[in-house]
Symmetry: C3
Amino acid sequence: MNTHSKISQQLQKLGIELPIAGAPAAAYVMANQIDHIVYLSGHIAKQNGAVWIGKLGQNMSTTNGRLAARSVAIDLIASLQSHLGNLDRVKKIIKVTSLVNSTAEYTEHHLVTNGCSELLVEVFGDLGKHARSAFGVAQLPLGACVEIEMIVEVSD
Amino acid sequence: MNTHSKISQQLQKLGIELPIAGAPAAAYVMANQIDHIVYLSGHIAKQNGAVWIGKLGQNMSTTNGRLAARSVAIDLIASLQSHLGNLDRVKKIIKVTSLVNSTAEYTEHHLVTNGCSELLVEVFGDLGKHARSAFGVAQLPLGACVEIEMIVEVSD
Amino acid sequence: MNTHSKISQQLQKLGIELPIAGAPAAAYVMANQIDHIVYLSGHIAKQNGAVWIGKLGQNMSTTNGRLAARSVAIDLIASLQSHLGNLDRVKKIIKVTSLVNSTAEYTEHHLVTNGCSELLVEVFGDLGKHARSAFGVAQLPLGACVEIEMIVEVSD
């Protein structure tokens, strides 16, 4: 990591250490750039390197869901760092789509997703403010509690 | 609202009064523009200012779901108006993603979503024709019956 | 179809015959192009021209779900062909979003979605590598087992 990067210094200040960026398990990529727009694949929540399994409204609290969403935001930033080389190239977080593994009764997907949204603003400031959607899905790959995808504008 | 705007006049002709645009409840924005593309956050259905609660296939008819989707389209247009100042700057409705709060048996998400799609074409004509996806989600924030996000091309 | 097209020849080599592209059932379009980006609407799985009904984890195996996702990829390519005239104009498959009709327990949405991802790479090679999200939805329009939408970069 470029230690002169403003965003890297901000991550350090926040006590956030980026994990090694994940690799896709099949015929797709974690980040795909077209012109100045980077599309990040849906990243599922992980804890200690393993899939973070859970279903909101059944066996996971909103507080923990929020922590999971925050950890996915960090993984998304790690993928961005791996793709861009330098996180200062981030011009704007455009859009976040947050898929929360929930029962048919749970209705706090927005609070879970705040864990991701707030981290992005802590790290990127105003550039981190994004459009977003959050909703409850029937289930996620490998039983993960949260999956989040992101679109980002970057500079050269 | 600019009363000389062609689209504002069309809204008036259709008897549609735009509500005050909603404000985000957290660290995100309702509309995010990158170059000439505006990403609108997922808007949940509201009725008389309160969240329009319901689950298709359980306690809400397709007819009412369709009305809810139509009302979300109006709220999306209100957010666009608030962002753009003048709705005549809309060049093309690009994409609509419609999340319908439904049981595991309900299969008319496309008919619900037509309430949004048809309103967009009534208001914007051919410019309102969009790509779209519609599907049933396990649950939505605050129990809303429908949530819709939109991508729009705009001029300067 | 342009039989001199490199991609058409690749489809032939793979033994894939493109179906007639589907038409939208309502006020939307199957493909919407803005500058050099084509947004394809969510396409639901079909078998012998009829909707391919099923729910993963209940009455459909992962193997069959994967075949369904592969068939949706072929339908998406047919819509692209219909929109572009010549599939050699595809510069990059940008993003795939795969909605798998699943129970609240099923956790192999990624394996189902591989049926689409792998077909795209077989047909387009490196240009077919995409960002993607895959997740389980409560239900899909008309009871379809899989719905997939796609974003594609194209040349003039």
